[in-house]
């Protein structure tokens, strides 16, 4: 049936029409008599996973999609119209690379959707890909100078792994070597904070900013925060005299103000708000307001370069969130499979005393066990309560005001740079990317 040339006049079906209707390709036009006195003319649109039994989804001529149950007594005829697919953009996929000498920004893409195109006939949403198409979609990106788009991955951020941090870092270094003024990395927001922290430890001697950016609201809606975030990120990459890894996202609900967060301090603190990203334990490094970039005193300036990647990592590490009832058996099982373990403990950095035994065992085996606080604000401190002192005696390394996720990425990096527990512990506690802050201001805010 599918693909067969069908005459314009009726071809009434008498048997159960569902098997044929179910298999019709998207875009096929049909007239359906539902056998209950109503007829519908519409275009078959993409089925989505939630559709019920025997429900045919049609787009009517008024633009609405409706689900119609196809009973065995229903009849249909195909209308003369070819199936319509979501069209691929035919435009040129390559263009001339920016001429040397021009101040250009590299935009690394990692997947997810940086932009989407909607096909109003079928309701299909197709990601915008490729340099030419992305720039055609966001003409304002090149307002201040050329942008070169470098696709790195095509994956959702929850599917990225520590090895991908290294790959990204290599591309960043490559872009700076070719003369980029700054680098923007478009990234899914779910694990954007991890990648930002990891790159902070991996990248050294940056001659310009490395700016991670994402979108909290999908790009298939006119209100997506993606375009304005991306524009602010490109502006920071082009203009800010920054030599570190930062995240640029909405500062509040408005599309006009953006915060510049240090890669090791930033955390996604809300599942859906545009201003989900917050700097914890330290101030924002700066902001973008009405297309003007302002940097605060803590921002680390650009170096003379050249940028390089301080590479090897070892991802035999784990992050363990303690909770009342966490089984020491489960925790121990994890410790058997890793070289380093970061605990997000309660309060000042505590875990139930029933866990002391496996911790002693693990550190004796050479596993680095580090402590952070699941409060996500303030420091871990072993000296206030006996529990903390016992944990230090058991060999646990306290990581002061590092966020658990930042501590985990630093662990992955440190494990690649040292073999003994003591050496790993020393790397963990040594400041490297501005990740520790000695003075937590009494007054909140920048």
């Amino acid at each position: 049936m599918v693909g067969r040339q069908v005459p314009s006049m009726a071809e009434e079906k008498t048997s159960d029409p569902w098997p044929e209707l179910r298999d019709l390709p998207m875009g096929r036009r049909v007239e359906l008599q539902d056998g209950r006195g109503q007829s519908y003319v519409g275009t078959v649109v993409s089925r989505h996973g939630f559709l019920g039994e025997r429900i045919l989804q049609l787009k009517l001529s008024n633009g609405y999609n409706v689900g119609i149950r196809v009973d065995p007594g229903a009849t249909f005829r195909l209308l003369p119209d070819s199936p319509r697919q979501v069209r691929e953009e035919p435009g040129p996929q390559r263009r001339e690379p920016p001429s040397l000498g021009a101040s250009w920004v590299a935009l690394l893409t990692t997947g997810g959707t940086i932009a989407s195109r909607v096909d109003y006939e079928t309701g299909g949403v197709r990601p915008v890909k490729g340099e030419a198409e992305i720039l055609a979609f966001y003409p304002e990106l090149e307002r201040g100078g050329p942008v070169r788009i470098i696709p790195v991955f095509d994956r959702l951020s929850e599917d990225l792994r520590p090895a991908d941090w290294v790959t990204l870092g290599e591309h960043v270094v490559g872009a700076f070597r070719e003369g980029a003024t700054g680098v923007v990395i478009a990234h899914g927001t779910d694990t954007l904070g991890f990648t930002a922290a990891a790159l902070s430890f991996l990248l050294v001697d940056l001659p310009g900013p490395v700016v991670l950016v994402g979108a909290q609201r999908s790009p298939d809606r006119p209100s997506s925060d993606g375009p304005s975030n991306l524009q602010a990120a490109v502006l920071v990459a082009r203009e800010a005299r920054l030599g570190e890894v930062v995240v640029v996202m909405h500062e509040g609900p408005s599309d006009t103000q953006f915060a510049i967060h240090r890669g090791t301090w930033v955390r996604k603190m809300h599942s859906s708000r545009r201003d989900a990203f917050e700097s914890r334990n330290g101030p924002e490094l700066g902001e973008v307001d009405a297309d003007r970039v302002t940097l605060g005193p803590l921002a680390r300036p650009a170096t003379a370069g050249p940028a390089h990647l301080d590479g090897p990592i070892d991802d035999r590490a784990a992050l363990l969130w303690f909770y009342p009832g966490l089984s020491p058996v489960h925790a121990r099982a994890i410790s058997l499979d890793v070289r380093g373990l970061v605990i997000a403990g309660t309060g000042l950095g505590h875990i139930a005393s029933s866990h002391l035994e496996w911790i002693r065992e693990a550190t004796a085996r050479g596993v680095t066990v580090a402590m952070t606080t699941q409060c996500l604000g303030g420091r871990a401190d072993p000296f206030v309560y006996a529990t903390g002192r016992d944990l230090v005696s058991a060999g646990v390394v306290y990581l002061d005001d590092l966020l658990p996720e930042t501590a985990y990425t630093k662990m992955v990096w440190a494990l690649g740079h040292a073999t003994t527990r003591e050496a790993v512990a020393e790397l963990l506690q040594t400041p490297r990317a501005g990740e520790f802050l000695e003075r937590h201001a009494g007054v909140r805010g920048r």
């Binding site: 209950r36 006195g37 109503q38 519908y40 649109v45 989505h48 939630f50 559709l51 019920g52 429900i55 989804q57 009517l60 008024n62 633009g63 609405y64 999609n65 409706v66 689900g67 119609i68 149950r69 979501v86 069209r87 195109r117 909607v118 096909d119 109003y120 006939e121 309701g123 949403v125 909290q216 609201r217 298939d220 809606r221 006119p222 209100s223 997506s224 375009p227 304005s228 509040g252 609900p253 408005s254 599309d255 006009t256 859906s272 708000r273 545009r274």
Partner: protein, 624 residues
């Protein structure tokens, strides 16, 4: 002519995709600014209506009220579709005998004027088909949809528009009729009938702004125009009739223009700023002070056709001016109103000479703060003048309070919709529909028949009660033991009259009306006093007793009516002697002055009749 309606009724079920109450608020907590990116169509074709708004790159400000949440801020995905709202829409569909779909699919309809924070309006088609019958004629229903209301427009500035989030997301039912309406009266009656049907569900919001109509009107030879956002049902008739009139004027103008061979040559506008440097009054006086630019557009063969034809208020000049306003200018001046507005006859002569136009031709002056907006306005004015050669252009028009309409924007193209993937589709099972059918509210037409029969009220009184949305109140008061006629009179005449005197007063509660009726029935005052008591209540009396007092009826019933009547009859013995029975009528007035509101007129008449008879009997009998 033919017309179709789109009725949008707010539901009292809470918002469609979040848990916020459907309440308006004047309490603004904070505000934020957003930009919308016009999502371009796959075919790159830009919708005419969308481009006019999106091309301007506006910053929209949104005022957040305490009752709004992250869903309205587009900072949280929508919650599942409000089940009560869907049930109400299904009830309405069943009342209309429309056919519900088997699975409701929520769509995103692209709207880039900033009136939604998402850039689209969520909408779902719930049923198709159905009908509503008015005075024996059937009007087909095309669709019954459920959609979210837009944010409330608060104000605008050159670089943006301010909206408030309180209205955004309120559940709306949209009912679209086929273009089966053939007159303005019918348009109003169909709207009223649909309104009554919506209220029959008992789940709609009441009050101004809770129901809005879009009216599509076309006349023979003309094209469709849409009057968008009529808030008062009773005005629909006027809007339709005036629109039909406007279209007829435009059509006859077209005939005249074609007969004259009129034309608007392209690129024929000329800058003539210097001619107006000496103008000292009127809209052109700004030329002297600022860098304003005056462009003049000749309209060949248009002379005398820009002002109103005799006997109508419609004029082409007004339609041309609206085009200049659409790009932000104040309007235009045209040759049919010149000399005048500070422009002398000498200047007009020079103008005609410079343009090379004769007395049969017209021209339009456009004043802009600089060349660019003036050019943009002239282009639009020229396009509109050319459209006059074809008759009625398709467009959306805003209703104005005086019953006329004003150009607002081109008619939007086909809605651009795609699925709202954040909301799963909702199945509508046969069992669910059967359950709703078993408990369907009474159809307004059935209820009308029943009320006429059950309470022996005339049809027009029932229609009045319906128009006032007082049928439920009527039945409730009758159930409390009051006479149907008295209740109907109270609701259709006395209460509206009292409210009209004090427009700011709150509507009477059912309990108050009950107490007023009970007080009259128990003789605390006579039923003639009801309007006065209601008036006192509307004016602020805090109880029925207080209102009786304020109305001057507080002395209670006249203890001895006969004594009062006898006194007055005897004081007028001469009149009685001369006119006999016929004295009743003038004396009635005297007595009523003393006892009005406390005694019933019929009672007074009876007493008078007796007293007159007594007096006449006495005087007729000679003293012994």
């Amino acid at each position: 002519m033919k017309a179709g309606l789109e009725i949008h009724q707010q539901l009292a079920t809470g918002k469609l995709f979040c848990a916020c109450p459907a309440e308006l608020s004047e309490d603004v907590a904070v505000s934020f600014g957003r930009r919308l990116r016009a999502a371009e169509g796959e075919d790159r074709a830009v919708d005419a209506a969308a481009s006019l708004q999106a091309a301007r790159g506006l910053l929209y400000r949104y005022e957040v009220v305490p009752s709004s949440c992250l869903v309205e801020m587009d900072d949280e995905p929508p919650h599942p579709l409000n089940a009560d709202a869907l049930e109400t829409a299904l009830l309405v569909a069943l009342l209309l005998e429309a056919r519900p779909v088997d699975e409701v699919e929520v769509m995103r309809k692209i709207v880039v004027d900033g009136s939604t924070t998402s850039g689209f309006q969520r909408t779902a088609l719930v049923a198709t088909g159905g009908h509503i019958d008015v005075r024996g004629r059937t009007h087909r229903i095309e669709t019954v949809c459920l959609e979210e209301d837009a944010a409330r427009r608060i104000g605008e500035s050159p670089d943006g528009v301010t909206y408030r989030l309180d209205r955004l997301g309120i559940s709306l039912i949209e009912i679209a009729t086929a273009p089966d309406i053939t007159s303005g009266v019918e348009a109003r009656e169909v709207a009223e009938e649909i309104g009554a049907l919506l209220r029959a569900t008992g789940r709609v919001r009441r009050g101004i702004g809770t129901i809005r109509e879009d009216v599509n009107v076309s006349t023979e030879g003309g094209r469709r125009t849409e009057i968008k956002g009529v808030q008062e049902l009773r005005k629909i008739q006027e809007y339709v009739e005036r629109e039909v009139g406007r279209q007829r004027v435009l059509l006859s103008l077209r005939d005249e223009l074609l007969r004259r061979g009129a034309s608007v040559p392209s690129g024929s506008q000329r800058e003539m700023t210097d001619l107006f440097r000496e103008v000292r009054s009127g809209p052109l006086s700004e030329v002297r002070r600022s860098g304003a630019v005056v462009l003049v557009l000749p309209l060949l063969g248009f002379a005398g056709l820009l002002k109103s034809p005799p006997g109508t208020e419609e004029r082409l000049g007004r339609e041309l001016a609206a085009q200049a306003r659409a790009v932000g200018l104040g309007g235009i001046l045209h040759s049919d109103e010149l000399p005048g507005h500070g422009v002398s006859e000498a200047v007009v002569r020079k103008l005609r000479q410079a343009l090379g136009v004769g007395d049969a031709d017209a021209f339009v002056l456009v004043v802009g703060p600089s060349r660019e907006p003036a050019e943009a306005a002239v282009e639009r004015v020229a396009a509109r003048a050319r459209a006059a050669l074809e008759g009625v252009p398709e467009e959306t028009r805003d209703p104005l309070p005086d019953g006329s309409t004003r150009y607002s924007r081109p008619l939007p193209g086909r809605d651009r919709m795609y699925p709202e993937t954040d909301v799963p589709p909702i199945p509508v099972s046969g069992e669910r529909l059967d359950m709703l059918r078993r408990d369907l509210p009474e159809h307004p037409s059935a209820r009308r028949e029943r009320i006429i029969r059950q309470y022996t009220l005339p049809l027009e009184v029932v229609r009045q009660l319906e128009g006032l949305e007082d049928v439920e109140e009527f039945e409730a008061l009758v159930q409390r033991g009051h006479a149907p006629g008295a209740v109907a009179r109270l609701l259709t005449q006395d209460a509206p009259a009292a409210m009209a005197q004090t427009p700011e007063a709150r509507p009477f509660s059912l309990d108050i009306l009950d107490m007023v009726l009970a007080a009259a029935e128990s003789g605390k005052f006579a039923k003639e006093g009801i309007p006065a008591v209601l008036g006192a209540l509307a004016a602020g009396a805090t109880s029925v007793e207080a209102a009786i007092g304020r109305a001057g009826l507080s002395s209670g019933p006249v203890e001895d009516l006969d004594a009062v009547v006898d006194r007055i009859v005897r004081a007028n013995a001469k009149l009685v002697h001369e006119r006999g029975e016929a004295a009743l009528s003038p004396l009635m007035g005297d007595v009523m002055r003393e006892v009005r509101g406390r005694r019933d007129g019929k009672e007074v008449a009876d007493s008078l009749r007796r007293s007159i008879a007594r007096l006449r009997a006495e005087t007729a009998t000679p003293p012994p």
